[in-house]
């Protein structure tokens, strides 16, 4: 009886933990909580110089001028 009781407690504890940690944790930030997400440094192209380097490395490796979406190139001469 005592063992059964203890097992039951463990089971309840496990279920409660799952509900507590999984139930609420995966909630996305609410619209009024997006102060940090609205900062400029959170955008993909916050730093133009860094973006220019990334683009240069990308099109040099891919041998395609322009990187994203710009026509022409393909000769690998950049």
């Amino acid at each position: 009886m005592k063992l059964k009781f203890r097992r039951m407690l463990v089971a309840i504890h496990a279920t409660a933990s799952i509900a507590l940690f999984a139930g609420c944790a995966i909630q996305p930030p609410q619209p009024w909580e997006k102060a940090n997400l609205a900062k400029k440094e959170m955008t993909m192209d916050a730093d133009p110089l860094d973006q220019a380097f990334t683009q240069h490395i990308y099109f040099s490796k891919e041998s395609a001028s322009g990187g994203y979406g710009v026509g022409g190139g393909g000769c690998g001469c950049n």
Binding site: K4, F5, M8, L9, I12, T15, A16, A19, L20, G23, C24, Q27, Q30, P31, W32, E33, K34, A35, A38, K39
Partner: protein, 176 residues
Amino acid sequence: MSNQKMGPMRTFKIAAFALSLIGLSCTQVEAVEVGSPAPTYSLPSASGKVDTASLKGKLVYVDFWASWCVPCKQSFPWMNEMQAKYGDRGLHVLAINVDGKQADADKFLGQVPAKFQVAFDPTGQTPKQFAVKAMPTSYLVDGDGRVVYVHAGFRESDQKSIEAAIVTAIDNMKKR
């Protein structure tokens, strides 16, 4: 003396109850729609405390804004205009700030003048109760505390339709 020893069944029942409470706390607040009663609030503002009861009988334009929200900035001159235009006909603009830091709100207010009541809710309790889905979101609450109009976001092109809703709401309140 009979309840000194807790039976396993009783423990289980208590645990189940606790679990259901946790479950409840995770569920979303029901959306505030047109026709539903507006949630109550009591918040600090630049001109003292503001709450639902003190604004009873007025048409309240409740607007949720933040310093980091660009369309909110655009809405301020328009809200100034609305307060000036319809203030004497019963409109009360209440702009609730949801910034976590008061300093951010103060800096914003230093740049963008507000000629209407500004309240502060750094906890986010009020926008949660109003089930705000976008920033900014505004609610027109009539004299009986009912939501008569909801608008999410703010664009130049939205101004006319919101103003029309304000005029309609004022007219409806006068009829009664």
